[in-house]
Amino acid sequence: MSDQANTVPGPSNMPVAVWGRTRRPAKGFSLYGATFSLPLLVWQLLFFVAPLLFLIALSFWSVRNFRLQPDLDVASWLYVYRSGLFWETYLRTLAMAGFAAMLASALAFPCAYAIAFKLAEASRRWAIFLMVIPFFTSYLVRVYSWQVFLSDHGIINAALGSIGLGPYTMLNTLFGTMIGYLTLTFPLVVLLQLFSLMFVDRTLIEAAHNMGAGRLRAVFAVVIPSARVGLVIAALFCFILTFGDFVSPLYLGGGNPPTLSIMITDTTKSGQQWPRAAVIALTMIATLLATAFAAVGYAYRGRGR
């Protein structure tokens, strides 16, 4: 069953010149194509588009007597978009998520690279499995655990103190938030990068070496371009997850400074102002969607898919 897979080395980075599209049997509607494409479409139409439409409708509702009333009122949009605080928070959140994506990508790359190229088959498999494990322990619980490391009298400061350093304030700062973001995204970023790196054609790297390229040069000239899709997708996922995360900025950042996700919660405390929260959410969705398309477009550019 897996014989074919074994015989195929998968030259994924080859420019697709011989592209057998003309031979494909499907033209127009086919049962085969529909079997794969329709289920997701139907599911999302049924269970996702409706809530999304509700969200859009909600942003035009009004609140009377602490009760949500269907309405066609643009007040919430005007209110949020005229708020300087909103834009300030928006830009800050954007910067934080962007920074987290770069940080996680940069920190994850050597790890993914080493697992892909420096570990034997068996240890690589173990490494992958170990990387999956943290997903199964609650993110919330892990973030709470970090508090014990990061607090002023915590493990790290105690260790630093014993060699005469610190104490440093790490909890309730941007640093704390970033640790939390990495807790959330680092394993996923490593895995996604790894999936790409494992299929970089080794003969290409060898060729680069044979042509006298140094190690770093080979990485930047061959490995990274070949694994571009995975690297970009990994960074994108990191951006998406951190942009909307409220656990880390709240429990490790002390809500100090607030991000958009915290702002959403805050907004609802104005006596059920969910319409305004919906405006913020829709703005976040639009931002993430634009980012996602830009990133995916960039990732697949020139690959011919």
């Binding site: 031979r23 599911w43 994850a108 999956v132 322990t137 014990v148 999936f195």
Partner: protein
């Protein structure tokens, strides 16, 4: 691998870096394990005495067991459905070009971009209007929506590494589309499918914000954990965390042993 071993020092540094990465990943999990066996309700240094009281508290809480069985059932169903849907979407994106594909992709990838608190409310509003709120089914529906994109991304990534001529070659050799799917695409995508199953299940296991809204009185374990954490800050969360960790560890090791016993099944990537 060995042919790339140019500089042993750098190789060792890289291996050390991998170890450091794992230390970062497992540090909070290990701490949580230690605190789960600590008698103090509020974990702090220095540690208090050894105690298994939090495990007992968890074990005798019927709502935890109810939550756990809910979570497991939901997680398994979600991972199967989401991975199937995600595979279909990934394959569609890989193979077809059609009018409205951008919209299709947007629909497939949009859900994780929605802040969970507001998605929870929107989901509840919709599901209660169609009579689907407050059940395990509601959580399944919501979690599939949320996790299918992860499955799709992982599988799509794998498909993009496949030689595009491969499927066509199978057709040319007389295989039907279905046969090519079964003998070429599926085996090739298998590691990604496995990964997608794991990750979607894990995301469902861990999701509490949307589940809080839509599950109503049929709470899942993460929602219960949120209660412990918010109202209680009790080491019970660490006990639960450790339990789940040990379970997943065991599953992983079992999976490893099974894989190793069937060397023929090995894929190029493991």
């Amino acid at each position: 691998m060995s042919e790339l071993n140019r500089n042993p020092l750098i190789d060792w540094l890289l291996r050390l870096y991998v170890l450091a990465s794992f230390a970062f990943i497992f540090a909070p999990i290990a701490a949580s394990f230690v605190f789960s066996l600590n008698e103090d309700r509020f974990p702090s240094l220095p540690l208090g005495g050894f105690s298994t009281q939090w495990y007992e508290a968890v074990a005798t809480d019927p709502l935890v067991w109810e939550g756990l069985s809910n979570t497991l059932t939901i997680g398994v169903i979600v991972s199967l459905v989401a991975t199937a849907l995600g595979f279909g979407a990934a394959y569609t994106d890989y193979r077809y070009r059609f009018f409205g594909k951008t919209v299709y992709l947007a629909l497939a990838l949009l859900p994780p971009t929605i802040p969970v608190i507001i998605l929870g409310l929107a989901m509840l509003a919709f599901l209660s209007r169609v009579g689907l709120s407050g059940q395990s089914l509601s959580v399944i529906v919501a979690h599939v929506v949320m996790t299918a994109p992860f499955a799709m991304a992982i599988i799509r990534l794998r498909l993009s590494q496949m030689d595009p001529d491969l499927e066509a070659a199978a057709w040319n050799l007389g295989a039907s589309e279905w046969a090519a799917m079964r003998h070429v695409i599926l085996p090739f995508a298998r590691p990604a499918i496995l990964a997608a199953l794991f990750i979607t299940m894990a995301v469902s296991f861990d999701e509490f914000a949307v589940a809080w809204f839509v599950s109503g009185l049929n709470e899942t374990l993460p929602v219960r954990v949120l209660g412990f954490l918010q109202g209680q800050v009790s080491p019970r969360i660490n006990a639960i965390g450790t339990f789940v960790f040990l379970t997943s560890m065991t599953l992983v090791i079992l999976a490893q042993l099974v894989l190793m016993r069937r060397p023929k099944e090995g894929n190029p990537d493991g």
